[in-house]
């Protein structure tokens, strides 16, 4: 009986949750548009703000650069070794290299870099912004005539996007070098063939999809946590971080799936 009694109230609840979920995503999109306009307007880069952006860039990127490169190199070497040994055992070595470049450079490294930056920088940044909002610091800034978006959010957005781009780029180059070394060893005789394979993998479509994917990853990594932090009604820092993380994973998966469709379908 009780189930029958609760049923009429469950549907509106579900609809309300769905509407809230939809509104949450819409606010992220709106935040993306606003921050895009601010980021593209030259007035946002005054001397003081440039310094703030530089500070966030250095703080977000420099400490993790070496560690991330080492970590991704290790993962790349392990995966490359597995792929090469497996390909050798099946007599398919001619396809091993192409597979390595595709799996490592195009698929795995951008995703890893985005997740790394999200966990290390942008989700904590989102939590910081949420705390600032809850404390009323952002409102106080607004009342003092200072745009909180430009003052607090833009440096974090630019630094996050820069960090994703640099980490993905560096790890990609290192992965290309490591894939060659694992396959051929310390020799230069196979360089021409390897270059040819890389050229074959990076056809124009793949390059466009790869660039779009990297751009979307970096946007998702900065917009979802910061947007969630700015607009969601959260009570604690942990809650904001978890909510941002879940949304981010969902969006990253969606982008990855779309890129796979673009590349291979």
């Amino acid at each position: 009986m009780s189930a029958h009694a609760t049923r009429p109230g469950a549907l509106p609840l579900l609809a309300r949750d769905f509407a809230r979920w939809l509104l949450g995503w819409w606010r992220i999109v709106e935040f993306g548009a606003v921050i895009g306009v601010i980021a593209l307007s030259p007035g946002s880069y005054s001397s003081g703000r440039r310094r703030a952006i530089a500070r966030h860039m250095v703080l977000d990127t420099a400490p993790v650069l070496v560690w991330f490169t080492l970590l991704s190199s290790l993962i790349c070497m392990v995966i490359a070794r597995i792929v090469v040994v497996t390909a050798l055992s099946y007599g398919l070595t001619q396809y091993a290299l192409e597979m390595l470049v595709r799996v490592l450079v195009i698929e795995l490294i951008p995703l890893t870099a985005a997740l790394f930056v999200a966990v290390r920088c942008t989700i904590p940044h989102g939590a910081e912004v949420a705390v600032l909002r809850q404390r009323g610091t952002l409102r106080a800034l607004h009342e003092r005539g200072i745009d909180p978006m430009r003052h607090e959010v833009l440096p974090r957005v630019v630094a996050g996007m820069f960090s994703v781009a640099l980490l993905a780029m560096l790890a990609g180059v290192v992965a290309l070098v490591l894939a060659y070394l694992v396959t051929y060893g310390f020799t230069t005789w196979a360089l021409a063939g390897y270059t040819r394979t890389v050229g074959r993998v990076f056809d124009p479509t793949t390059v466009v999809v790869f660039q779009l994917k990297a751009l979307m990853f970096s946007l998702a990594v900065v917009l979802v946590p910061l947007g969630s932090a700015l607009y969601d009604a959260t009570r604690s820092r942990i809650s904001a971080e978890v909510r941002g993380l879940v949304r981010l994973f969902a969006l990253l998966l969606l982008i990855e799936a779309a890129s796979l469709v673009g590349n291979y379908v």
Binding site: A54, F162, A165, L166, D203
Partner: protein, 310 residues
């Protein structure tokens, strides 16, 4: 939190990112062959299935070109446009053969084969028909060929087949071979002819024995102790001595001839002297005759000299 050299560090990070991006772009353009001077080769195929843009054209396992575009030609055939770098184009000759092979596992491969490397090189924009080979396409052909082979073997091994008859003949031939006359009996088929051949062989053998004796006799007569050859040798020795003597005689004759020549010279000089002597004698005779005439004229007892007047 204040950061020392903030601007420098941020600038360095930006420079690293820009440098990595620029290097990647240049490397990818190089890897895609943008900086290579190429020449175009158009391969015409019935079916372009499995061929994709960017695929390699290989020669001896080495990639020497890549597919740039595919198009359906006016002739209803697939035109595969391949860019071959100039530095590798010399491997492609006018007699080169191109194949499009699709394996059971892996990509389709376009391969070039140049049998005669001294042939003139393939010109830019050359159009060649590509031979298509597919391992799965080959299976029905293989089955058909195998079926045909089995039918042939069955026909060969039948009881009334040519092979069976040949084998029967071979068996009878081998029986004859094992018979009294052996191979000759098998060759001639009857005893009489085989016997005649044997007789002919025996006579030839006897003839050879006689020839052998004759040769021995001829050898004795020619080269024996009293043979022709030693006598000929003695004759030659004698002839040699005779020739020596003749030579001496001739030398003597030569000397005589020299003497005769000298005598003839003396005779010639004597003849010259005789001419002068004769002239002198004639002058003397003329003087004597003149003197006699004088004496006759002056002598009183000379006969009268009549002068008859008309």
């Amino acid at each position: 939190m204040a950061i020392a050299h903030l601007g420098l560090k941020a600038g360095a990070l930006i420079v690293v990112l820009v440098a990595l991006m620029a290097a990647s772009v240049v490397y990818l353009l190089y890897a895609r062959g943008v900086f290579e001077a190429t020449q175009r080769l158009v391969l015409v195929a019935d079916d372009s299935e499995g061929v994709v843009v960017g695929m390699d054209l290989t020669f001896a396992g080495f990639p020497i070109g890549r597919v740039r575009s595919l198009e359906l030609g006016e002739d209803g055939k697939a035109h595969i446009n391949v860019d071959v770098p100039k530095k590798d184009a010399h491997w492609l000759k006018q007699s080169s053969v191109f194949t499009l092979v699709r394996g059971l596992v892996g990509n389709t491969n376009i391969r070039a084969f140049s049998g005669i490397l001294t042939d003139p090189p393939l010109p830019d924009g050359a159009v060649r028909t590509v031979l298509r080979g597919d391992s799965t396409d080959e299976i029905p052909k293989l089955v058909a060929a195998a079926k045909e082979l089995v039918a042939n073997i069955t026909a060969l091994s039948a009881a009334d087949s040519s092979l069976a008859q040949t084998l029967a003949n071979l068996q009878s031939a081998s029986a004859k071979l094992n018979g009294q006359r052996g191979l000759l009996g098998m060759l001639f088929g009857n005893e009489r002819d085989a016997q005649r051949v044997v007789t002919a062989l025996e006579r030839a053998n006897a003839l050879l024995a006689r020839l052998d004796g004759m040769t021995a006799k001829a050898d004795t007569q020619l080269f024996g102790e009293r043979g022709v050859l030693p006598e000929v040798r003695d004759t030659i020795v004698q002839l040699k001595a005779l020739l020596g003597e003749t030579s001496a005689s001739l030398k003597k004759v030569d000397a005589i001839l020299d003497d005769a020549q000298a005598i003839a010279g003396n005779a010639k000089a004597a003849t010259t002297d005789l001419g002068a002597l004769r002239t002198e004698v004639e002058a003397n005779l003329r003087k004597i005759e003149h003197m006699v005439d004088e004496l006759n004229r002056k002598w009183p007892f000379a006969r009268e000299v009549e002068i008859k007047l008309p």
